[in-house]
């Protein structure tokens, strides 16, 4: 690339120095592409104690900051929801462009889930509207989301993680990072009475897919597309 072209490119991106990592003209591929969940779902078992659905190709961002009150307000105005500063909590809101979910990871780290089409806009908005020191990284390609529900979902979770998921200590909206079936990173969040959401690393997706099939075999596994 010549200097002139490079300068032109730098000028064009001034003020929003972020790259769109999920361009609309490239079709993404889920880490469970090979499992062909859609075909499995169309065959349909109909009944079973555990329902699995992959919420693939979402926009996933990791925000790191130690926000003061000014920055907290700026971040809230960009996201549309307040940053959950209480440990192990999450905030979500349905928006015009799609739902946004913000999850507490550690005292200075949050995980943001938005539709893939919104992620780049959100990054750009952060560039223009949020002052001070922070880091916002697009990690969409590194993770995938699995939604587990059904009457026996708690039984499957009991086999997989040391976390106590009883409603008395694990209310709706609570989010934890822990170990899941010996694999390293995961985030578990209760989204309903018998519904959980699991964020797993891309490289562990196939292993966890195999694990979940095995762990839910005795209850019956229903794939949803």
């Amino acid at each position: 690339m010549s200097d002139a072209m490079l300068n032109e490119k730098v000028e064009a991106t001034k003020g929003k120095m972020v790259m769109n990592q999920i361009p609309a003209d490239i079709v993404g591929e889920s880490p469970l592409h090979h499992a062909d969940l859609e075909t499995l779902a169309s065959r349909g078992q109909g009944q079973g104690g555990v329902h699995l659905k992959e919420k693939s190709l979402q926009g996933l961002l990791i925000l790191r900051a130690k926000p003061d009150e000014v920055q907290l307000a700026e971040i809230e105005s960009v996201l549309g929801v307040a940053l959950p500063t209480t440990p192990l909590t999450s905030e979500e809101k349905a928006g015009e462009k799609g739902d946004i979910s913000v999850r507490w990871v550690s005292p200075d780290e949050w995980f943001i889930v938005v539709p893939a089409t919104v992620a780049f806009q959100l990054e750009s908005d952060f560039q223009t509207s949020v002052s001070g020191h922070y880091s916002l990284v697009n990690v969409s390609s590194g993770y995938t989301i699995l939604q587990l529900s059904g009457d026996n979902v708690v039984d499957v979770l009991k086999k997989s993680t040391p976390i106590d998921v009883h409603p008395s200590v694990f209310p709706i909206g609570k989010v934890v990072s822990s170990v899941f079936a010996k694999s390293g990173a995961m985030m578990l969040r209760r989204t309903g009475d018998n519904a959980f959401e699991l964020i797993i690393r891309r490289s562990f997706a196939d292993y966890i897919w195999l694990w979940l099939q095995d762990a839910s075999m005795e209850y019956g596994l229903v794939i949803e597309a």
């Binding site: 440990p87 192990l88 550690s106 005292p107 040391p162 990072s177 822990s178």
Partner: protein
């Protein structure tokens, strides 16, 4: 299996989620060039190995990935106290 309270998550979790990092409160010599070999060697390699109360550094590896200190009895495995980095232990060996 230890049941460990993470001061950052505000919740007790299984030992499986944590990693021990070693002795806590090890201070790096302010001016390494002025150290004798003995002082530097002791900073790098020599650790306490007490029978009884021990101050240790732990990390919540699978959770919030933050470090914290723990006062633990190496003989009975009893955890006396958990406190954040920069804080001083309130339970100390006599």
């Amino acid at each position: 299996m230890l049941h460990i309270y993470c001061p950052h998550c505000g919740e007790s979790r299984d030992e499986e989620e944590f990693h021990p990092v070693g002795q806590a409160h090890i201070e790096r010599p302010k001016d390494p060039d002025a150290c004798s070999d003995k002082e530097w060697g002791e900073f790098l390699y020599f650790r306490r190995n007490p029978r009884g109360l021990h101050h240790e550094l732990w990390v919540h590896a699978a959770g919030c990935r933050k470090f914290f200190n723990m006062t633990r009895n190496t003989q009975t495995y009893e955890i006396k106290e958990v406190y954040k980095l920069g804080e001083q232990p309130s339970v100390v060996a006599e």
